[in-house]
Amino acid sequence: MTILHAVAPPPPLDHSGRAATTRRRALRLRESVTAFLLRVCAFSAVAGLLLIMVFVFREALPVLVDPVTRHEVGVSRIFATPLWQPVGNLPKYGLVPLVVGTLKVVLVAMVVAVPLGILSAVFASEFAPTRIREALKPVIEILAGIPSVVLGFFALIVMASWLQAVTGSPSRLNAVNAGIALALGIVPTIFSVSEDALRAVPRSFREASLALGASPWQTAWNVTLPAAGAGVAAGILLGLARAVGETMIVLMASGNAAITSGDVFDSVRTLSATIAAEMAEVVVGSPHYAALFFLGAILFVTTFFINVFAGVFVERLRRRLAGA
């Protein structure tokens, strides 16, 4: 590549009085206009986030303030009613089964995905020969690239039958089925964030440990992993936020029955799947509509705080490794 080709010829210098002044003024104007436009682009991200907040909360607001809506889905009712039955003569909007359902699926997903993600990240960064590592990373990228609707499809059509054959559980679609599919969706997140953190640990840490006579696995377990701890924690939190908000997988693989129970082999209905399943048939402005936006607001706030928390860990890791 030649530098000469990349640079356009500078405008010819012109020292002849007025023409040059106008030209310079036009140039300066163009500079400040482009700078302004670029700033607008950058702040579009801020505007987007703010608009999401404003409009999701605005549509959810009747749950808190509108008397007609509150009669059906007031806050006191939402937390006291044990059932979610939005359709019928006497609609019931109880959050409890949905929250319990979400927690169960997310718990299963985390139990599967956290060890898988972290251990394979340790393998890739500490033990694997270069060639195997170079083969492993594209596989993880492929997994990350599988659309969630495809994972949902696989869990619904294929995996559910296999699991039922193994566990003999009465309901084919349940929290375990959805949780495992969801784990597949978040393993790439946990893996890549953890692996980045592990590889950011300075070589001198490992060399010091090995020089003191520790074996490679002792070094990985006692030195590298703790040093990268904040990054690994960030990976887990980012995976958690994704698991809480993920929609298509749980919508397709969980069975969608709003049951409050502790059994992970029961069919469950999550917050996200409830929105996805019911919003299409809802009358705009009805109590049900506001209730679904209220669920969306809960999801937004939950994932927002988990993500902010993850950001704190990322920052801590950066400082720690910069100071080392």
Binding site: L38, A45, L116, W217, T247, T303
Partner: protein, 315 residues
């Protein structure tokens, strides 16, 4: 970590004489975890390829569904997906690249407004996709669309689910992807080139336009392709902003509803009246969607690794 902490964490070494079984166990466990992930990916891809490849014929990708979607092809869904991502990219790339240029070339890295923008980008990337769907419904359709109808004195043209609103919702969802990759691309351009250009008398914008952007093109393309691949696969944001269950015609304008591959997979696998009759079509649709996203991702990965190699070469 201090040296003290390091030594106290080290295990005692007097046991190290016999073979280190626990060490072997731990190493094997990590390898097993990696193997398990690879196996699961292989099983999913293998299953879909095995049951899907027979269905995917030229007729399948060029014909419309027939007989209650138990026969025929998926052309309308492919057409809708392509139209959707094209609209999305047109809306998304200028904003994403502009934001990246601002963050990397103009903004002071530690200023409060820079930190706010970065905070927004990071957290926008973490908003659940279904919340984007709610936002699209509440903002684009109910607020912008309805206001446009009222202002123009129309019946209901803009204030309903449509291709345009779905594309804009997806554009916002993918904004962080494009910003992050474009910024990474700008980082690969060496500082000397900026300095050379400025020293020759070029203005800041001329430097960006004629020196930085031509070099950052692979990175910008990577971001655009990644966002297309994500956009083609995301279903939750378009559930109530424009995707249709079945349409007998192709969308004619941005205000029409559309069929989409991912949504088609969802509909076929959850709402089919005859599951066995739909199954070959379902597998075929999944395979087409997967091939599409896979090819796009592959292109993006190759472009990015070339860009990173260039960066490594320069350092």
């Amino acid at each position: 970590m201090t040296a003290d902490a390091l030594t106290t964490r080290l295990p005692r070494l007097d046991k190290a004489r016999s073979y280190d079984w626990s060490g072997f166990g731990f190493t094997a466990l990590t390898a097993f975890a990696a193997l398990l992930v690879v196996l699961m990916v292989a099983v999913i891809m293998g299953n879909i390829a095995f049951f899907g490849w027979r269905t995917v014929t030229w007729e399948f990708v060029t014909a419309a569904p027939r007989e209650g979607m138990t026969a025929g092809g998926i052309f309308p869904a492919i057409f809708g997906t392509v139209a959707l991502v094209i609209l999305m990219v047109v809306a998304l790339v200028p904003f994403g690249v502009g934001a990246a240029i601002y963050l990397h070339e103009y903004a002071r890295p530690d200023a409060w407004y820079t930190r706010i923008v970065r905070f927004a980008v990071n957290n926008l990337a973490g908003v659940p996709s279904i919340v984007f769907g709610l936002f699209g419904l509440g903002f684009f359709i109910q607020f912008v669309g309805r206001s446009m109808d009222r202002a123009l004195g129309l019946d209901v043209v803009w204030g309903q689910p449509a291709l345009l609103w779905a594309a804009l919702t997806l554009a916002l969802l993918n904004l962080p992807v494009v910003i992050v990759t474009a910024e990474e691309a700008l980082r690969t351009v060496p500082r000397e080139m900026r300095e050379a250009s400025l020293a020759l008398g070029a203005t800041r914008w001329q430097t960006i336009r004629y020196v930085l952007l031509p070099q950052a093109v692979p990175g910008i393309l990577t971001g655009a392709i990644l966002s297309v691949s994500r956009g083609a696969g995301e279903v939750a944001p378009i559930l109530f902003t424009g995707a249709a269950y079945f349409l007998p015609y192709l969308p004619q304008s941005p205000t029409d509803q559309f069929m989409e591959l991912g949504y088609h997979v969802f509909v076929l696998s959850t709402q089919s009246p005859n599951v066995d009759a739909t199954k070959p079509i379902l597998y075929g649709t999944v395979l087409v969607l997967l091939l599409l996203t896979f090819l796009l991702n592959l292109t993006a990965i190759l472009l990015r690794s070339r860009m990173r190699a260039r960066l490594a070469g320069r350092l």
